[in-house]
């Protein structure tokens, strides 16, 4: 019975794939009072559905591991259904329904974790609901302009209308993707969510905000361009959005560096990555949108991979703090490669596809002549090296720092299979950067009525600004590596393995297990001494939001005083109100 249910669950997790393969035509469902839900599959939605189809079964696998939490599985199914509805939505109502189902089912999934605390879960749901309600408000404004709920471009909105719509929709999606200063809910919730589900939250759920952001310009085809005019070679309004994105990336990157917890670090890195995507959307050119989509693809693959690897580590060691881990490379080699490939993708290093994505974005920024943005983005992406390094150093290298880390074994196969698949996909896309362009991204661009990027061959990424060849790059690097290693081994002399991990040059001293040799926890702390970074790290929005919550509670207390349990007071108020309104009427109108 249980096995059957598991199988069923896994099949359901494949539903985005099935949907992608079998969907044709459209579907509609009456809701209420003439509102109908129309389901169609646009190329853009198809792209994000592909991402979902990639991530969903891979995240489902670890969730299926015994003993599995049945409510989680049910909620996961609901979440998947909601997201598919969201992607298939041809009208705003089904979009919103999908959005909300996604929101609350992911919240309830978050609660399945034993670590979720009140502040986290509250901030998660409140921010997400705020996003949803802003979206709904936007939808209603949109509805009042067009008279129906279909998702389509708005012909010539007036400036205030377009501004209102942009603000409402934009805020909604920006909360979902978590740009500054609306990101506060992300780190702790990604951290405290059930370990496998964090992968999905970061890999897929955040992509829905990206989907919305990319959808947004199609609602006002010319708004981004004609709104505030053009700045240099791009839309001026997008310039603002791009700065929001890039500031998010920079700040989140530095915050990520200063984290002490693996999942929190990944969460901040998610924020940073999505910040890049936001920047690219802000640029809005065909190159940039291609870059944004490419980044979304890579981010999904990478974050699912990394979060699942980390989940495996947490499962096997029981530790999640950098200071408690170390030297797992010998005990969990496959996970090590998972994280290695993951961070290479995350850092955007060639030859993995992260580079192709960043290349597109960089080139689009140069093309738009927004060089200051480019510089800020470079800052974020080079600073990202530090947290990437921290992420692989602290768990896998250095010295084991806790009994759990000393005795861990390789993660079980439900954790390894997704990792291996994702590693394979990353390498594949890295070798053939044109593959993703040709198969996944160009159809979307055509669907959005933009110039496709085009790929001469799958191995090549070609833009007007030049390109590169993934296969050649990988071959050259591979041959060089083999040659160097071979030549090195041919040289005379003996190689000898150190007899102990403590055989270190340590100024003549002999380190022992008690010596603090692991640099995992403190790594990046010295960055605070750089004035700018120190300043950034000292800032935070938590105080503001806590203050807001405190003010709300104070207001509640104040208003609660009205509800004192004294019947005479109630009656007095009623009579006074009666008298006062009579008197007011008498004064104003004259009886």
């Amino acid at each position: 019975m249980s096995a059957m249910l598991r199988l069923l669950f896994f099949v359901v997790s494949l539903s985005p794939t099935l949907l992608l393969v079998t969907w044709d035509g459209s579907l509609s469902w009456a809701l209420i009072d003439g509102i109908r839900l129309h389901l169609t599959l646009t190329p853009l939605a198809g792209f994000f559905l592909t991402l979902l189809a990639l991530a969903a079964p891979l995240v489902a696998l670890p969730m299926l591991r015994r003993p599995c939490d049945w409510p989680s599985l049910v909620l996961y199914v609901l979440l998947l259904l909601g997201m598919q509805l969201l992607l298939l939505a041809g009208d705003f109502v089904s979009f919103f329904v999908g959005w909300e189902v996604m929101t609350w089912s992911s919240y309830l999934l978050l609660l399945r974790s034993s670590r979720a605390d009140m502040e986290t879960s509250q901030s998660f749901i409140l921010f997400n609901l705020a996003s949803a309600f802003l979206l709904l408000a936007g939808i209603l404004v949109f509805f009042s302009l067009t008279g129906d709920f279909a998702i389509r471009s708005l012909a010539e909105p007036s400036l205030p209308q377009a501004l209102t719509l942009l603000a409402l929709f934009g805020l909604a999606f920006l909360i979902k993707v978590g740009t500054l200063p609306l990101h506060i809910w992300i780190p702790s919730s990604y951290d405290q969510a059930p370990d496998a589900f964090s992968a999905f939250l970061s890999g897929s759920v955040s992509k829905m905000g990206v989907y919305g952001l990319i959808l947004l310009p199609t609602l006002f085809p010319d708004a981004l361009a004609s709104f505030a005019g053009r700045f240099l070679n791009g839309p001026a309004f997008g310039y603002l959005l791009a700065w929001v994105g890039v500031i998010t990336s920079v700040v989140a990157t530095f915050k990520a560096i200063s984290q002490e917890d693996m999942k929190r670090l990944l969460a901040y890195s998610s924020i940073a990555q999505v910040g890049y995507i936001t920047t690219a959307v802000g640029v809005g050119s065909s190159l940039a949108i291609a870059g944004a989509l490419y980044l979304a693809l890579v981010h999904t693959l990478v974050k699912v991979l990394l979060f699942i690897s980390v989940a495996g580590i947490v499962l096997q060691t029981g530790q999640r703090q950098f200071k408690d881990l170390g030297r797992l490379i010998e005990r969990m080699p496959i996970s090590f490669f998972g994280v290695l490939i993951g961070i290479i993708g995350l850092a955007g290093m060639p030859p993995l596809p992260g580079f192709a994505a960043k290349y597109l974005v960089f080139v689009s920024l140069v093309d738009a002549r927004w060089l200051l943005l480019l510089a800020a983005m470079i800052l974020a992406s080079t600073a990202a090296f530090i947290y990437c390094y921290k992420l692989i150093y602290a768990p896998f290298l250095g010295h084991a720092n806790s009994p759990g880390a000393k005795e861990a074994r390789e993660a079980p196969w439900p954790y390894l299979v997704p990792q291996v698949i994702l590693m394979g996909l990353l390498v594949l896309f890295g070798l053939f950067p044109g593959l993703a362009i040709d198969v996944l991204i160009d159809p979307v661009l055509v669907g959005l009525q933009m110039a496709p990027i085009g790929a001469e061959s799958w191995a090549k990424l070609t833009t007007v600004y030049g390109g590169y060849d993934g296969v050649v790059l990988m071959l050259v690097f591979g041959i060089a590596f083999v040659l160097v290693t071979g030549l090195f081994l041919l040289l005379r002399g003996r190689m000898r393995r150190a007899g102990s991990p403590y055989d270190l040059s340590f100024a003549g001293e002999v380190p022992t297990a008690d010596t603090p040799l692991h640099y995992g926890a403190g790594m990046g702390r010295e960055l605070r001494r750089i004035p700018l970074v120190g300043w950034i790290l000292r800032q935070g929005t938590r105080g503001f939001y806590l203050g807001l919550a405190g003010q709300m509670r104070a207001a509640a207390a104040l208003l609660g005083n009205l509800y004192v349990g004294r019947p005479q007071a109630w009656i007095l108020i009623a009579v006074v109100v009666l008298a006062a309104s009579l008197a007011a009427r008498a004064m104003m109108g004259g009886l």
């Binding site: 240099l232 070679n233 490379i329 850092a347 955007g348 290093m349 060639p350 580079f355 290349y359 080139v363 920024l365 140069v366 002549r369 060089l371 200051l372 480019l374 510089a375 470079i378 800052l379 080079t382 090296f385 530090i386 990437c388 390094y389 150093y393 896998f396 290298l397 250095g398 010295h399 600004y465 030049g466 390109g467 590169y468 060849d469 790059l473 050259v476 690097f477 060089a480 590596f481 040659l483 160097v484 040289l491 005379r492 002399g493 003996r494 190689m495 000898r496 150190a498 991990p501 403590y502 055989d503 040059s505 100024a507 040799l517 640099y519 790594m523 010295e526 960055l527 750089i530 004035p531």
Partner: protein, 305 residues
């Protein structure tokens, strides 16, 4: 095919020879400035060979061994993706398959691979050095990339070949047509070369030699080699971008050498900066110049147009 192999080997050879000679010269010059004789110009070659023929090499595990291999392969790849000559079929490597941004990223592939090895050694001083290196990278990359972006914008391409081809004649050299960009990248370039005053990362007496603390014997030889080759690759890259490239090896050496002299002259007279000082400096001075350059060369023309 054969051409590619020979060409690649030639590039690697040229960069290696240039590397140790330039560094030998650097040490000589440094000594002369300090009013002493200094080592022979071949000293770096000797050091390198000595390390290669050490009879004992300690390893801290597979990753520790592969780190230097990765960084070496990265150096080879970088060298092969930088075109050494223009208008020539030789010393091109695979540069037509790459571009400027790719090269900039390739420059850090190796060091990051090596950082894994350093981490795997388990020596905290090494990791501290890596962190410093990454921090410095974070500092220098911003103005460096901004300067290169100005060049890319000027030529509207990221292909080094195309940028080189556009600079025929002294008047069209990047340093003449886009001097601000050159000024912007100059100091970060020195830091990228790991030269004083930004050499705190691997300096012998700072945190116990930094990332290389655990490397000895042949592995250290590998690291030294790649360092020299990588330096040459960067020099050649800047020559390609700003000094109009070179049509034959002698011109290449001359141009690279003059650039090297310039950077050496700067680095020799300034004392070493702390990491955070260096980063702060990069974000203030070169980046400030870069921002000014952007405003002057990008914003103002577009507004006046």
């Amino acid at each position: 095919m054969m051409h590619a192999v020979v060409d690649s080997l030639a590039m690697i050879g040229v960069s290696y020879v240039m590397g140790f000679l330039f560094y030998g010269f650097y040490r000589q010059l440094n000594a002369r400035i300090q009013r002493r004789w200094g080592p022979s110009i071949w000293q770096n070659f000797f050091d390198n060979m000595k390390f290669f023929f050490k009879s004992e090499t300690l390893s801290h595990g597979p990753m520790f061994f592969f780190g230097p291999m990765i960084i070496m392969a990265g150096a080879f790849t970088t060298v092969l993706f930088v075109p050494f000559l223009k208008d020539s079929t030789w010393l091109q490597g695979f540069s037509q398959y790459g571009n400027l941004i790719l090269i900039i990223y390739l420059l850090v592939v190796g060091p990051l691979g090596n950082a894994l090895a350093v981490g795997s050694s388990g020596n905290p001083f090494g990791v501290m050095g890596v962190t410093r290196g990454l921090t410095r990278l974070m500092g220098l990359e911003v103005p460096f990339f901004l300067g290169l972006a100005l060049v890319m914008l000027q030529h509207e391409t990221s292909s080094v070949h195309a940028i080189m081809a556009a600079q025929d004649g002294l008047a069209n050299w990047g340093i003449v047509t886009n001097p601000v960009a050159f000024v912007v990248i100059l100091l970060p370039f020195i830091a990228a070369q790991n030269a004083s005053p930004f050499d705190v990362v691997g300096a012998p007496v700072e945190v116990y030699a930094g990332p290389r603390v655990e490397f000895g014997g042949r592995l250290l030889g590998v690291l030294m080699t790649q360092n020299m080759m990588m330096s040459i690759a960067k020099l050649v890259l800047v020559v390609d971008l700003f000094l109009g490239g070179a049509s034959n090896v002698l011109v290449l050496i001359a141009k690279a050498f003059s650039l090297f002299l310039l950077t050496t002259a700067i680095s020799m007279v300034f004392p070493r900066l702390k990491t955070e000082q260096a980063v702060d400096f990069f974000w203030k001075v070169p980046l400030g110049i870069g921002v000014l350059a952007v405003i002057l060369t990008v914003w103002l023309p577009s507004w006046s147009a």
